[in-house]
Amino acid sequence: MDNAVFQWLFAWLPELLQSLVWIVILIMAILLPLLLAVAFLVYFDRKIWAAMQLRRGPNVVGPFGLLQSFADGLKLLFKETLVPAGANKGIFFIAPVVTFSLALIAWAVIPWGEGIVLANLNVGILYIFAISSLGVYGILMAGWASNSRYAFLGALRSAAQMVSYEVSIGFVLVAVLVWVGSLNLSEVVLAQSGGVGSWFVFSHFPLFMIFLISAMAETNRPPFDLPEAEAELVAGYQVEYSSMAFGLFWLGEYTNILLMCAMTSILFFGGWQAPFAFLDFIPGPLWLMIKMAFFFFIFAWVKATVPRYRYDQLMRLGWKVFLPISLFAVVAYGGAALALGRV
């Protein structure tokens, strides 16, 4: 609110409205680039996927096909919205809204640089964890309200899958926050200052692997995209959706993936901090974006190369492999933190 331009523009407003307008401006400053980035990430995703399958990928709309996502979005916007006859109308339309808005509100606590954060919550990690655990509701509501067997099966699978992988994500977060001694995301980043060597990816490597894989499962990303498994369930919970309702699911899904990339960067790759001191001239937000793009590439790479999991193997991986390892890691890293005098 101390910004000179802002003062010049809105000084005539009462104090209370000024702070509201300022918050709205800050939210816009995060959301608009985010949604634009999602549009280009979809293009990026499809290009990587195509390159790994020796295809060209989208290359018609705009230079190098860069405008493909906008063309797709526009097409979805102008399509007719179909509602199945037996659908529960209210919930049917609330579901995509829930998915999309939950995907957006999580970004409030992501720190983009030292002090550059919309809401510097003391419980930032818990907030992110809470919001990502709510993601399952959009899918469950969509699956149930569609009144279709495929959609319902997809929703049930998704609920079971997300609840299972949340447990190991939770333990990874606990291990990291015990090490840092704070639930504040900025503190987590500051605890990794001092270049590449102090990033948690080295000291917490097993946790990093578990987090990355669980993040893929949590966002229903291939190879864990069982909820939509087009070969068995047509498209799972999205079967009955058309037009912008489908578009919102699609946007929400990619925003969530991006959020998980941001979380991986913040928890294990030093967030906004440069890897080497001589690269400090590049601003913090840009570093975070570079790291997010790197993890998005890994997500796309895995999607292009790994075949889909079988459902029982997915559950086995979550409960019998990740859960014991991450539970042990909490004890081990907690003990190490105590022995090193960090707590």
């Binding site: 209370l16 529960n88 919930i91 919550l121 003391n122 419980v123 818990l126 907030y127 964890f129 809470a130 655990s133 709510l134 399952v136 509701y137 469950l140 509501m141 149930w144 319902f152 929703a155 049930l156 609920a159 079971a160 609840v163 949340e166 939770g170 639930l183 029982d312 086995r316």
Partner: protein, 206 residues
């Protein structure tokens, strides 16, 4: 003023959602309203400055418990008209239980137990919370120093109930074919793949 507005919004929505849980015709709607009620309760916790409790409420109740509720209710094959038949029959008893709970709550409030400085368990010392500590840390200190035995006891009760549920639901089914992952992973190409040169028109003996 914003805090007051937020309080009335959260409180009003919580009461509305609570009411809708009871009067909704469709059980799935009831569960969804229950989730809305949890959310507003979390909002009230945030207003009280107990952000840790708010987040835990959302993670545990909304993120896990209510998902399982919804999961089960969605899968039940419920006849809605049949479900509502007993409504008038159970109304007096249910109303009585509700009135008793309300009376108890009022009694607690009237006796001043609701005030923060009165919160302690008989037999243990009064709770010491430094003012400048953030509430996650304060909560940890209270839970793991003053109330560690009660905390552990709660954990044991949960463990016992979990084991109980598994014992009740578990049954051994003989003759089920299961994949043994270790065996599968231990296989090598040398012992599982054989290259055979097939001569035209002859076929292969396996």
């Amino acid at each position: 003023m914003i805090a007051a507005l937020a309080f009335y919004m959260f409180a009003g929505l919580a009461i509305f959602a609570g009411l809708m849980v009871v009067v909704s015709r469709n059980p799935v709607h009831s569960v969804l309203f229950l989730i809305l009620a949890f959310f507003n309760a979390a909002g009230l916790f945030v207003l009280l400055g107990a952000e840790f409790l708010a987040m835990i409420l959302i993670i545990v109740y909304v993120g896990a418990v209510a998902v399982l509720f919804l999961f089960v209710v969605m899968m039940l094959d419920i006849d809605f008209s049949e479900l509502r038949q007993g409504f008038q029959q159970y109304l007096p008893l249910g109303g009585l239980v509700g009135m008793i709970v309300l009376g108890e709550l009022l009694l607690v409030l009237a006796s001043g137990l609701g005030r923060p400085e009165m919160v302690r368990i008989p037999g243990s010392g009064a709770v010491r919370i430094a003012q400048d500590v953030e509430n996650t840390a304060a909560m940890g200190q209270v839970l793991f120093t003053d109330y560690i035995y009660l905390f552990q006891a709660a954990g044991m009760i949960l463990l016992v109930s979990m084991i109980g549920a598994i014992v009740l639901a578990h049954r051994t089914r003989p003759g089920v074919k299961k994949q043994i992952i270790a065996d599968q992973v231990a296989r090598t190409p040398a012992e599982s793949i054989e290259l055979i040169k097939v001569e035209t028109g002859k076929g292969v003996k396996m």
